[in-house]
């Protein structure tokens, strides 16, 4: 469950855009534009007002919150942003700062977001929440440093495009795979594209997260050249158990990571001890226990719904 909206984005405090006040502090604020329940101004009018503000050219980071209280897709948001790209020079964009109480992650509808990559050549950070009907096109971007897709069920049509992308500046990648009930599909082995040093020469921080097949991912990554190039690995929110933890702990390349994060996991104390012995800095908050019912064991990932 996603409980909280962002407080900070791109190292700046997030503030909701108030059409009455306009863009007052573009350099030190990440403005968030979202459908607000407190007044009657529709989201589209709000965003239009934001984009036509005299200070819009000074804005470089932007958070888009809930754009619809009736379940519409982000397509018109993407259109409005790209149409404003003569003035708007985005460096950081969060598309979908939406909490569970507004809309569950797997109910968030998108469209084709590939125009964003073309319209904003200075983009350093892109984070997208939700993946229904999401299309990303062929991803090629010179300056993108951080890319994240948060999902309760990420389809291979998205994550395959990502692992085949051409992102020479990319340092940090986060993929939330989710579960097949909500749209995840594909074979973990197809993540192999991430090994290509020519397309991801700077990748240091990898998040392969929120997956039902977290153990498979663990067993896969210890076989991959990419692991040796990484500094930080994040496998939070998934159904990682001792099986996956053991594979990681036995890997030489894993032991050379500087940090490993599993916020929300199913690894036992013994499993954590194995991981601890590798010398890697382990952040393993939220140790969960599987549910048992009639001899069957059930694991739940951090965010699906």
């Amino acid at each position: 469950m996603i409980s909280y909206n962002l407080d900070r984005f791109d190292q700046k405090p997030v503030a909701d855009f108030d059409p009455g006040l306009g863009i007052a502090d573009p350099l030190n604020t990440s403005y968030r534009v979202r459908a607000e329940y407190e007044d009657e101004i529709p989201f589209q009018d709000r965003l239009a007002k934001f984009l036509s503000d005299p200070n819009i050219s000074k804005v470089n980071s932007l958070v888009i919150g809930a754009w619809s209280i009736e379940g519409e897709s982000s397509e018109s948001v993407v259109e409005m942003l790209t149409a404003a790209s003569d003035d708007l020079k985005l460096e950081a964009l969060f598309l979908g700062d939406i909490v569970s109480e507004e809309q569950e992650i797997s109910w968030i509808e998108h469209g084709d977001i590939s125009p964003l990559f073309l319209a904003f050549p200075d983009l350093r950070i892109l984070r997208v929440r939700g993946s229904n009907s999401l299309q990303v096109g062929t991803i090629r971007h010179e300056k993108l440093e951080q890319l994240a897709f948060e999902s309760g069920g990420l389809p291979s049509s998205v994550w395959l495009q990502v692992v085949q992308a051409d992102l020479p500046s990319l340092e940090k990648l986060e993929l939330w795979f989710g579960e097949d009930n909500y749209g995840f599909d594909g074979d973990v082995a197809d993540l192999a594209g991430l090994n290509d040093e020519t397309r991801f020469p700077k990748l240091k921080e990898l998040g392969l997260m929120n997956s039902m097949v977290q153990n498979d991912i663990a067993k896969w990554i210890v076989q991959q050249p990419i692991l040796a190039r990484l500094e930080r690995l994040d496998m939070s929110m998934g159904a990682l158990t001792d099986e996956g933890a053991k594979a990681l702990a036995e890997s030489k390349a894993f032991s050379e990571l500087s940090s490993f994060k599993i916020h929300y996991h199913f690894v036992s104390d013994e499993g954590l001890e194995l991981l601890g012995k590798t010398g890697v800095s382990i952040d393993a908050a939220e140790q969960e226990e599987a549910d048992e019912d009639d001899g069957e064991v059930y694991y739940y990932i951090g965010v699906s719904e």
């Binding site: 469950m1 409980s3 909280y4 909206n5 407080d7 909701d16 607000e36 329940y37 407190e38 619809s68 209280i69 009736e70 379940g71 909490v99 569970s100 109480e101 507004e102 809309q103 569950e104 109910w107 509808e109 229904n132």
Partner: protein
């Protein structure tokens, strides 16, 4: 100049077998007051003479009818007799079943008729009411109550009005351009019979405590303490339709603020026009107001995570202002309980419902007093003029 209220003369009109009446009587006795006790059952049998003992300018506390099966059945029967041929879901003895949703229109009419009898019989007594029958009747029609609050400038969720069927629900949501709503029993209480419905055009689901059982072609609804999620379209349709037969209405699903990774709403008690006990109820699922036995937190401890951002002064001021506006609508009662949502933006609040009998909260004190003690204390210590506002 009128004579003042006889502060030490109390009558409890209640299900005397219920824990509420027993513990309120105990609180009175601890203050040296021996209450006059009248059971609803006697009034339902027509023994109105019991009310003769209710002294002029004394204090009357009407209690919740509770959930005793015999009381529910008798109230429902009397309401059905007055139904003038309305179509009713069949809920009455001997076929009354434990846990079956009992907040039917017939129950509501029977309950209103009982309260009306009490009101009429006592209309010349000039009593101080903890909860006035008029206010109680009003709070048991949640749709009317919310409409009146909105008209009085109280922030409530956007109302979609009464719902006759699943297809009407979808139509009204479409018109209101809302993808998420709560559908509630018009005459229900707290979380009983509530469902949270959401769609994104292609998918639909509900969260609910309603359990439905198809018995010989009749869909019966039961209330459970366990929430479940229903995603099957036909099941959703059947539950919404069956709920509508009990009388339901829909309102906007106000996104609630979270604390400790759970959603919360507030149960706020008002005594003598001022906010008293205020507790947050936390829940992992959309239905936060199931009962008061779940995880609770003090108002001062509603942080967005473990370190920062308790509710700020501005929100507390809004809650107090909201209480003030609600008491203008529910002006005849010394005591009221409100369920209030703080929106996820933490910038505004919305009243989810008003409850005349919302003061059964264990283990919570305000200025050292339990909810029951706070009301007794108000009657004992308020000046005559303040008390007179609740005399009618």
């Amino acid at each position: 100049m009128t004579q003042s209220v006889d502060r030490d003369r109390w009558t409890l009109l209640a299900d005397l077998r219920d824990v509420r009446a027993q513990s309120f009587a105990k609180s009175l006795r601890e203050r040296g007051i021996e209450p006059n006790l009248i059971d609803y059952r006697d009034l339902l049998r027509g023994k109105l003479e019991d009310l003769a003992d209710v002294g002029e300018r004394s204090v009357l506390r009407l209690e919740s009818p509770g959930d005793a099966v015999d009381l529910w059945s008798e109230i429902t029967n009397q309401g059905r007799e007055a139904s003038n041929g309305h179509r009713e879901p069949a809920v009455s003895p001997p076929e009354y079943e434990r846990g079956r949703l009992a907040f039917t229109p017939a129950w509501y009419r029977g309950w209103c008729a009982l309260l009306e009898r009490v009101r009429r019989t006592l209309s010349d007594r000039r009593l101080l009411y903890c909860a006035h029958p008029d206010d109680i009747v009003f709070s048991f029609d949640k749709l009317r109550s919310q409409q009146a609050l909105a008209a009085a400038g109280v922030d409530v969720p956007r109302l979609l009005g009464s719902i006759a069927s699943y297809s009407e629900l979808r139509e009204k949501m479409h018109e209101a351009r809302l993808a998420r709503v709560f559908v509630k029993l018009r005459h229900g209480s707290a979380g009983s019979g509530v469902l949270a419905y959401e769609t994104n055009g292609s998918r639909e689901q509900i969260w609910t405590t309603i359990e439905s059982r198809d018995e010989e072609g009749e869909l019966k609804l039961f209330n459970s303490l366990k929430q479940r999620r229903v995603t099957d379209l036909r099941a959703i349709e059947a539950i919404v339709d069956a709920q509508a037969a009990y009388g339901s209405f829909a309102e906007e699903w106000v996104p609630k603020a979270s604390c400790a990774d759970k959603r919360f709403d507030l149960r706020v008690l008002i005594v003598g026009g001022a906010r008293a006990h205020t507790v947050a109820r936390l829940s992992r699922s959309p239905l936060t107001n199931l009962h008061l036995f779940g995880e609770r937190r003090d108002l001062s401890d509603l942080r967005t995570d473990d370190a920062t951002n308790p509710l700020d002064r501005e929100i507390l001021d809004q809650i107090d202002a909201t209480c003030g506006r609600v008491t203008k609508v529910y002006g005849k009662s010394l005591h009221l309980a409100l369920d209030i949502a703080v929106r996820h933006t933490r910038r505004s609040v919305a009243v989810l419902e008003v409850n005349s009998f919302g003061d059964l909260i264990h283990g919570v004190t305000h200025r050292g007093l339990t909810p029951y003690e706070a009301q007794i204390d108000a009657v004992t210590t308020f000046d005559a003029e303040s008390l007179d506002r609740y005399v009618s």
